[in-house]
Symmetry: D2
Subunit: 476 residues, 4 copies
């Protein structure tokens, strides 16, 4: 965990939108995307409008995809950008921003989230004579928008009409000719916030506030659930696109996905993690000598645990920062080693000690098992206690996190905590409770999506239970 | 600091040697090099002997240079490896291991350190009819070795004879046909340690103990100053190559260079840093609300400072882990931004707080100045106090660290601390004292190289003062 | 000429279609495309159908774009392929085959030719609610096809209906789900022929017969002007898509574009060129010592001239076969040289001789001027006579050849031949007459497109004269 | 043959030397190397001297290895260059120019040829304390030169002394600090010629005269066998390095290796080939309808054959110019095809005809067999007669051509011509006789190396017969 991306829930995307007074939109988008690069390292792209649409996108990190020459070509006052995580990305066509040249102009979109009913929408559109390159959610949204704008000749009204058809999570930025929008689903499942560049240089929307920070932009506010915000020369122009009775913010954003220095829907990610650690110390106390964070994912939780437990925290596990790329070695010698090279115990910290390790979550448990074993064998820890900053993950996510299979969870199938403890080899194991998590987030439980830990979902998903069936009947 | 490699003293190299019972030497070297990749990211290489010398080396990280196919080709029981830092590396010829096919066999070397008198040695060799590709220290050492072995037909005796000619710092691994050695200069300036693979699979030498850890190897001992150790099928065979009256371990290894989970010359790097922080809290106390480490370089020192001061430590600065590669943007907009994208304050931690930031060292001071300003402006800190885990850097290093110019130091030229404080904009600034540093390291002052903070050097360097002129007169 | 691609009319594309009994379609297409690589070196692509559409395309030669792994993935019984020439190709989206997933299935197209009215068609489609990625002719054709098939549920009927809307030149291959077609415009402007693989392994369509030869396929026949041919398991199924009153084969295919070993519309390219040379010798005789072909474009014409004139032919100009790639050197020294490195006179052949050089055509004349000068200065030729295997190029091509600007022609603007002769520095200059050319081709003049040499075009082009205005009134 | 590089004897190298009045040496060398790129496509390099040695070399064509930026860096008035063919080139170290920094200065060499006694020389040097990187002939020569210059302080004298030690073929260019030389072995086995740049801009030496042509340089003369020529500011300064009693020019240079537009040792390559063809028509006449050259290797011979036989020549075989790169396809379909894609018969030329195909040589015979079969099957030729412009290859070359194995020759082991004819499937087969070849070259037989067709060699090669044992006894 923490050190093994393969053993972590992975987030789908980061999005940005920009409206500037001069033609620097792509420069700002470039740096904003790099600030949220943790939301997707597989592909990236920038689209700007400057007497027509210009797009550069490709596989790789933002810095691999966008060159200095590209930035010069991408001259324009408005633009959107995207970072992508997907194992499906194998072809250039799939990378975002996606765009189409329509009868009402050029439309480009950068989307974070999953439209649960996209299959039906695509089929409907194809039956109506629409043609797709990759049959993506994004193509469908653009096509529906183009049709709606043709009918109504009113972009905000059209966005509202289209969003009414969408079931699922979405936080997307949209460029229609030289107009640019930031839109969030009625539950606010994925984050999206607004900022103002210094010296009146323009306005920005992005998935996380860190993207504003890097630009020197002032955080203005979050996009509201069910709101479409146009970035104008003077600021923001809001349209309510749906009644938002209750929210369903993905709790995992605070627990793991977002950068610790982001503020999401009014809550500091770092603070939430620290409070989770503090509560965890109260819910599941332990007699121990040292608190050791799993770098880097468990660090903030561990600070909190250290404060809550009055056990000193030290860095007892060191991460090798150069293991970006590896390959499968043919020999057994290599297989034994590759486990150890990502993380290494600091013997001076853990030897002979009762150690509490703290991380944000456990998915498969394989990495956690290795770390526990390594702390004992290589580090000489006398006891290893594991504390986890989220409740047991037991159900798939259909709304934007790459955990789509029930079989992958070590905690799946109503397994007893003690059974999991044995599997990972810990002396004790505790997860924070759902209620403890909710209190640490300091948000009403009804305003959080807890699908993956409760098996109840905020939107209707075929074959799954829905939490608030009465609400939004008219909308969805 | 800490986040800006351009503003840090940089170490030259990491070295590895391996002798295995089976032909997996290259696999072990590969992983060992990755574990010490922080000692040089510019180039890397592996040389093995298997009925002749096979070498693969190139520009880039170990994982960029050595492919799975290379490892298969590099089949052999003995080998050496190298990671390189140098701004001079522009040609394939310069990359190590360097090797020559000589009249006494194939000799390859992987070297960490600087031979102060290499220019004289090379001139002498050229006058004797020797021919160079790049006129490197390493070519010179190999040529001298070949001549000595031809005369004496005794490798250890030859190593001793050659080392007698070398003035400077060196920790190198050496492969002569199928024999492999680890050698350390009489002062032990650069680190080098020995380990034993599990299950009797072989023996290893490496710059840092973390390279042993990743292989699952047991740490056996450090190579002694002035010792040449042959790795044999049964263990280690030692030759004393020089009288070692006093040592001169580079203190910067503990303060910054080495990985925190390494143990160098018997001292845990993490522990030393923590003790430095603790002493710093006693030497230069401050009334503050929160201790914030500069990630990642100041983290262990900050833990110590937090303990020594009883001020809680929190992660008030977040580092963007994806900023490996950047390019010069043409616009002013870009220049303003690039400062901020590497590091970002966590407002929830520092807003309205009296903040102590802790780092290991200051070279130019430019990054520190930016961080102090950022904590006030973007983070809202009410006070910013700076504490540094090394004494002021005032003099060049001639023995392996890339600080060769007196002009680069913010603390150079007898500048008052208060002047530096004003330059970086801090409310207070304190460095640890030399004596405090020495006590934190827990080693006799006479056994440390303190050249860059004291302007006195352990070996004779033209134009510089030498500390112990009486010693080793016969040797050097 | 002949050696300077920049000074040659360039052809747009090569197309292939394949239906096999086993899943080797991509393998056959790969080799067929390489055989017609001269029809486009900027980009290439292959699309196959195997339970869904699979496409691989990219910038570069066929061998650069399609790897061995790609071929394995592109497993399928039917497929189409394309080689592309275009200075517009800068983005992956533009490369062919282009494809769309429509309500009637997956449609892919590989197109050679230019649809003169594509702008109008695209506007119409956008007004009808269709959305484009790149607003290409190919997207338009696919969309029109999808709509037609939805209405009629009859693919051949739909192809006929769509082609009725197209004005211009086209020879395209089309894959609709697992059905595959080869279609040619009513004038047969661009070539397209049909073949049968050996051992009943399948059927093929391609731009030139050399693509059949490489597969060991038997040439069956040309696709007729105004014919759509489906490749079936049993052979070919023909649909007449337009009344073809007269043909308008591009004469340049025989003169320059096609490979000399191709047979186009029943006529051997090599034979036509030889007959052109023979006629040229009769039309414009010269007293000379040696006939020298411009390699490789003028070789066949020169053979013919040699036979017609009874002057022996020798290779007096040598081409450097390794000048694929070059760069702009900064110095004057380099500029002087780069002219000479492409072609070099053989002094032994031309020194002191009266030389006739023969090429297929002259566009700008800059290269021809250099060659004439080089033959005199470097080769020592006493006289240089130039004979050209096509009439003077005076008008743009709108139907598939990259000569769209009247200003580029050395022969433009009613210039006297003698003026051109002076410009290129020849002792005498003669072009073949239009009638001579027609006789050499051995086809009725009314069945050739002679637009670029006569300024009259077979289809209506805004601002240009049309040759046969009465015909096809109902069709176009 | 002719179209299958795998079935051709391959030449090792091309060399260039340059002395200019301005700093453009690298520019001139770049273009000169491209002109002789046919002499080696595996690697290339340029070395110049400009206050020290600067070298750029790498794997690939000249244009792949040397960039525009490289040329700017390689600023200097003197330099040498090299193109390399070798299956051994797998490491950067092997590529030429090779260089060493010696006690007498920087020495760089670019070598064409093979030093038969290099193994002995290297062993001797190693025993004397010299150290090698790759144990190459070139390193040995440089080291011997450095030692000689140290002793004599006279470069020409030193070159003479070193060459006295060398047995084998060599034509090399040499740069010693800012002095540059062109040297040829006493037999003149490999070619080397001298030229003068226009406008007094400097002097040049190169393997073939085409390298002079491309620079606009005037051919001055060939370097004489046994001559070392220094390029000076005023022209050439000659030193006789060995008595040259008889020459042993490699006949294959005229027959195949050199570009047809080169003049080697006073003889036009094109003329020699044409005379070979003419003689072949007389020696082995045939009743046939058409002479078809194997493109491009047999074209000049075929012209000659056509003249000698009065049978018209036509291009009955077309080569695909885009088959530079290919990969092994997994399927049988692919294997069948790849034979055909390199070369294709022109049916219009050969159908129903009695065809004579002419090529320069046959090594293995595999490609020739395919072409004969293809002419019958695909082309419809009624008879296929094969005429070869060199005598049967029966013995290895030790002096610079990549034919080192007796087993590879279809004509090896005293095989009857009729047996070879049957193997390749021709109706008749004839090679030119050795005497016919010699007469066509118009040089005394004693002045040619005919080793590969006579099994007698000009220098003593262990295990082989030597032709002129009495000569040069003192020299070798």
């Amino acid at each position: 965990m923490g050190t093994d991306a393969d053993d972590k829930p992975r987030e789908a995307c980061g999005v940005v939108a920009m409206r500037c007074i001069n033609k620097d939109a792509a420069t700002y988008i470039y740096y904003a995307l790099r600030a949220i690069q943790h939301r997707g390292q597989e592909a990236a792209g920038i689209a700007v409008n400057s007497k027509g649409l210009i797009v550069k996108k490709g596989l790789g990190l933002v810095a691999d995809v966008i060159s200095s020459e590209d930035i010069e070509k991408l001259s324009g006052k408005v633009g959107i950008g995207h970072t992508y995580y997907s194992i499906k990305v194998s072809k250039p066509e799939n990378i975002q921003p996606q765009f189409l040249k329509t009868g009402v102009g050029d439309i480009a979109i950068a989307h974070n989230g999953i439209i649960v009913n996209s299959g039906l929408l695509i089929t409907k559109l194809k039956n109506e004579g629409k043609n797709f390159i990759i049959e993506s959610e994004e193509e469908a949204i653009i096509m529906m928008l183009a049709d709606a704008i043709r009918s109504t000749n009113d972009i905000p009204k059209s966005i509202k009409a289209v969003c009414k058809e969408l079931i699922g999570s979405y936080a997307f930025t949209l460029m229609i000719n030289d107009r640019v929008f930031a839109i969030r689903d009625p539950y606010g499942i994925r984050p999206l916030c607004l900022g103002k560049l210094p010296d009146g240089k323009g306005y920005v929307a992005a998935s996380e506030s860190v993207a504003l920070d890097v630009l020197g932009a002032k955080f203005v506010r979050d996009v509201l659930p069910g709101e479409a915000v146009e970035l104008t020369d003077d600021g923001f122009k809001s349209t309510n696109i749906a009644p938002s009775i209750n929210r369903a913010h993905c709790f995992f954003e605070w627990v793991y996905f977002a950068r610790a220095d982001s503020v999401i829907d009014g809550l500091s990610v770092y603070d939430v993690r620290k409070r989770i650690g503090w509560r965890l110390a109260k819910e599941a106390p332990v007699v121990a000598d040292v608190v050791v964070p799993i770098p880097d994912s468990g660090r903030a939780h561990a600070y909190g645990f250290s404060m809550g437990s009055n056990i000193k925290m030290l860095e007892g596990l060191m991460k090798n920062r150069y293991i970006h790329r590896t390959f499968i070695m043919p020999s057994q010698a290599a297989r034994d080693i590759s486990v150890r090279e990502k993380i290494n115990p600091v013997r001076a910290v853990v030897e002979g000690k009762r150690v509490v390790i703290v991380d944000d979550s456990i998915v498969r448990g394989t990495t956690m098992k290795r770390i526990v074993s390594m702390l004992r064998t290589n580090g000489g820890a006398s006891e290893v206690h594991v504390r986890i900053g989220s409740p047991p993950l037991i159900a798939p996510c259909y709304l934007g996190i790459d955990m789509t299979n029930r079989d992958q969870f070590i905690a799946g199938g109503n397994k007893e905590i003690d059974e999991i403890r044995k599997e990972i080899g810990a002396d004790t194991l505790a997860y924070i409770s759902i209620d403890g998590l909710v209190e640490a987030i300091t948000m009403d439980k009804d305003n959080l999506c807890l699908g993956c830990v409760s098996d109840e979902y905020p939107v209707s998903i075929p074959g799954e239970r829905r939490r608030f069936q009465q609400t939004l009947a008219n909308f969805e």
